[in-house]
């Protein structure tokens, strides 16, 4: 074996020097680039005040949010003036339990209402006021006296989970929340799940198990004599006043409709424009340049801004959203199509040209077959991402699932709706994603 140790000088000293110098430079670059990125991120962290963020972060909010995503609360409220008792999911009229069909943990005996919050926590409303028995602590007793509330607790200082003034007492425990004011007393019981997801409490199907429901649907006696149980169930589910499934599904359809119209409308418009803006197709440089700038402009103005502009002319509604999307995407497609056209393989065009084909025929047979898959896959990719944008645009033009979502978030209390909408949107986008992927494979491989 010949000696390949490092000692003898290489035969090409100049080459060796260049190579070694290059490696030195590259070595520096390999450190410089990550360092530069790191430095920038540090600067950004400072500019964004990430350190202060920890202090500002409200983890209780996160907890509320997470808990609210998958759990619900039931309000048991007594109006202290009229004495009327209501039990309602999330305290909403739509979630009101009809009298006589109250949940098992609320017992009403004359003036006395007993609420079993579980784990030994028991709240009692009676004529004198209300009492809350907290295990390992004792009984919190509240009695109104004239204009004031009198609070009696076990010995010692008030724990921080009792927030009391002479007008309002609230107690927050692991079992639930309780608040007493002169006008009303309210207990909140938290539990996992979305109880009214399928049927609201006023529905005869509320709270039934799957087997019971199946039984009712298949052979049970008609609860509503005018129609079969299955139909009643379907309508009860779709018209569920709390979850409004029918409206939600319609909203999803409307969202997809906007994305579909916007994307394909833009594609149809952009195809001829793309040809006109491609260097190898368009001999007039000025027109090409002008078109490119137009594309830049309509792309640069975001879809949301187009939405507002168009809302003046067309008013709120899904068409406005679709047109806004159509406009933005025409800009994107115009640019992308013309770039794809500039990258075509000239061999095929030449092959067609050598037979004496005219320019239209060259475009049809030399260009379209090879760019079609690229264009289609871009269009389908946009269809998927537009489904997502349509949720946002929908919020502004008053249509689609996005409207429901943003409003649920803005009101900050229907987090379970938010969770459900997010699930639906994610599923919808994923479905569009796989649909567009499937179409892409089908259209590009097939035909």
């Amino acid at each position: 074996m010949t000696g390949m140790t490092a000692s003898p000088p290489p035969l090409f000293p100049p080459v060796a020097d260049t190579v070694i110098a290059r490696f030195r430079r590259r070595r520096m670059l390999s450190f410089a680039v990550p360092l530069a990125i790191l430095a920038y991120l540090l600067y950004a962290a400072m500019a964004f005040d990430v350190a202060g963020l920890a202090a500002r972060a409200k983890m209780d909010n996160a907890k509320v949010l997470l808990a609210d995503f998958w759990s619900h609360k039931t309000h048991v409220t007594r109006d202290n003036r009229s004495g009327r008792l209501t039990v309602a999911i999330e305290g909403e009229a739509k979630g009101l339990y009809p009298q006589g069909r109250l949940p098992g943990w609320v017992t009403v005996a004359g003036e006395v209402t007993t609420i079993d919050l579980g784990g030994g926590h028991v709240v009692t409303y009676d004529a004198a006021g209300a009492r809350y028995a907290v295990p390992d602590y004792g009984i919190i007793d509240i009695r109104p006296q004239g204009d004031r509330l009198v609070l009696t607790t076990p010995e010692g200082a008030l724990p921080d989970w009792i927030n009391a003034s002479d007008r309002r007492v609230s107690v927050t425990t692991a079992g639930g929340r309780f608040a007493y004011t002169r006008s009303k007393v309210e207990t909140f019981r938290y539990a996992a799940g979305w109880p009214a997801f399928f049927f609201t409490p006023d529905s005869p199907f509320f709270g039934k198990s799957w087997t019971q429901l199946a039984g009712l649907a298949l052979w049970g006696e008609r609860l509503d004599p005018s129609r079969p149980n299955v139909a009643a169930m379907a309508s009860g589910f779709l018209n569920n006043a709390m979850w409004q499934h029918g409206a939600v599904f319609w909203a999803m359809f409307e969202t997809i409709l906007m994305a579909f119209l916007g994307t394909f409308g833009a594609a149809i418009l952009a195809l001829p424009l793309g040809f006109m803006a491609a260097r190898n197709m368009m001999p007039f440089g000025a027109l090409r340049f002008g078109l490119r700038r137009v594309f830049d402009f309509i792309r640069g103005v975001d879809g949301l801004i187009w939405t507002i502009v168009l809302a003046r002319a067309f008013g709120p509604g899904p068409m406005t959203g679709a047109l806004a999307m159509l406009l933005t995407d025409t800009g994107s497609f115009g640019k992308m199509f013309s770039e794809a056209l500039e990258n075509i393989d000239e061999k095929q065009v030449e092959g067609v040209r050598s037979t004496g084909a005219d320019s239209l025929q060259r475009a049809r047979f030399g260009v379209i077959p090879q760019v079609m898959p690229v264009l289609l896959s871009q269009v389908l990719y946009f269809l998927e991402s537009n489904t997502r944008s349509a949720t946002v645009i929908g919020a502004i033009v008053g249509g689609g699932i996005g409207l429901m979502l943003t409003q649920a978030i803005q009101t900050q209390k229907d987090w379970e709706d938010v969770a459900w909408y997010i699930v639906l949107i994610v599923l919808m986008v994923m479905a569009m994603d796989s649909l567009s992927g499937w179409l892409r494979r089908k259209l590009i491989r097939g035909s």
Binding site: A247, G315, P316, G398, L403
Partner: protein, 279 residues
């Protein structure tokens, strides 16, 4: 001159679908009255309805006072206020209520000097426009009086932000009826308290604005007089003819829908102009 359809725009804090549902009876009533298809629109953004009215694609809407002022300033000939809501106590308005944490030692607006202050959002009547203008009259330029003036993004955010100590004081709306500890009978405080976002014991009222007029129901001026008359009549009578429906349309208990004119909103328009000039 004939109309072929009638579009109704609604804005407010509730969920879009709730708004749709609570206005369904009203929609059907108009349809029966006018004999043309009636559609209801509920965009999340103020601007959706406002642009629709300006562009003429919406014929009628319930607006906030500030929204009306915006339309008026853009195009005085576009719409005309015709009715507003009368509360159970006979009033036709609500208040912007300044508040602070109970343990912050701030009891009056004067105490808030040099502290941070949160408005809701710039387009909100009770969350910015009116309190902004009124406070300015009392204490002078707000930027000088407060250490920091922020927009929280909404009434709820203001309440939560103040309760959490992000801001020293803020402003949100309430009807001013009932008890503070309940968050009053209706308004942002009530909602936040009911939702458990805030404990009313933790915050205290430090200031209250003059009465802010309820937003008007406006109709497009270009509509045929006959159509406008029918619509106004129908709505004004709603509490008498269909109380349940009126409950939904009025967004809760209310006494009646009563006529109103542009004059009632002169103050708001002026406040807007003032704000505009100061920007």
């Amino acid at each position: 001159q004939e109309i072929t359809q009638f579009n109704l725009g609604i804005m407010g804090g509730e969920n879009a679908q709730d708004r749709m549902n609570s206005n369904e009876c009203y929609r059907a009533a108009i349809e029966a009255e006018l004999g043309v298809p009636v559609k209801v629109f509920t965009p999340a953004d103020y601007d959706g309805v406002i642009q629709g009215l300006l562009g003429g694609s919406l014929d009628m809407a319930w607006l906030g006072a500030s929204g009306y002022a915006k339309i008026f300033l853009t195009d005085p000939e576009a719409v005309e206020p015709v009715l507003t809501k009368q509360n159970m106590d006979g009033s036709t308005g609500y208040y912007a209520i300044g508040f602070a944490r109970a343990d912050s030692g701030i009891a009056t607006i004067e105490d808030a000097r040099g502290k941070s202050f949160a408005f809701a959002e710039p387009n909100s009547t009770s969350g910015y426009l009116v309190p902004g203008a009124e406070l300015q009259e009392i204490v002078g330029p707000l930027a000088d009086f407060f250490s920091d003036v922020r927009f929280s993004g909404g009434h709820e955010q203001s309440i939560v932000g103040v309760a959490n100590g992000d801001f020293d004081a803020g402003v949100a709306w309430a009807d001013g009826l009932g008890d503070w500890e309940d968050g009053y009978n209706s308004g942002a405080f009530r909602k936040a308290a009911d939702a458990g976002l805030v404990d009313m014991n933790d915050i205290t009222e430090i200031w209250r604005s003059k009465l802010i007029p309820e937003g008007p129901m406006v109709v497009r001026k270009a509509l045929p007089q006959e159509v406008r008359d029918k619509i106004i009549q129908l709505t004004a009578d709603l509490h008498e003819t269909d109380r349940d429906c009126a409950y939904g349309v009025a967004h809760g208990e209310a006494m009646d829908f009563v006529p109103i004119t542009h004059d009632a909103y002169e103050g708001i328009v002026a406040a807007r102009k003032l704000e505009e000039a100061s920007s």
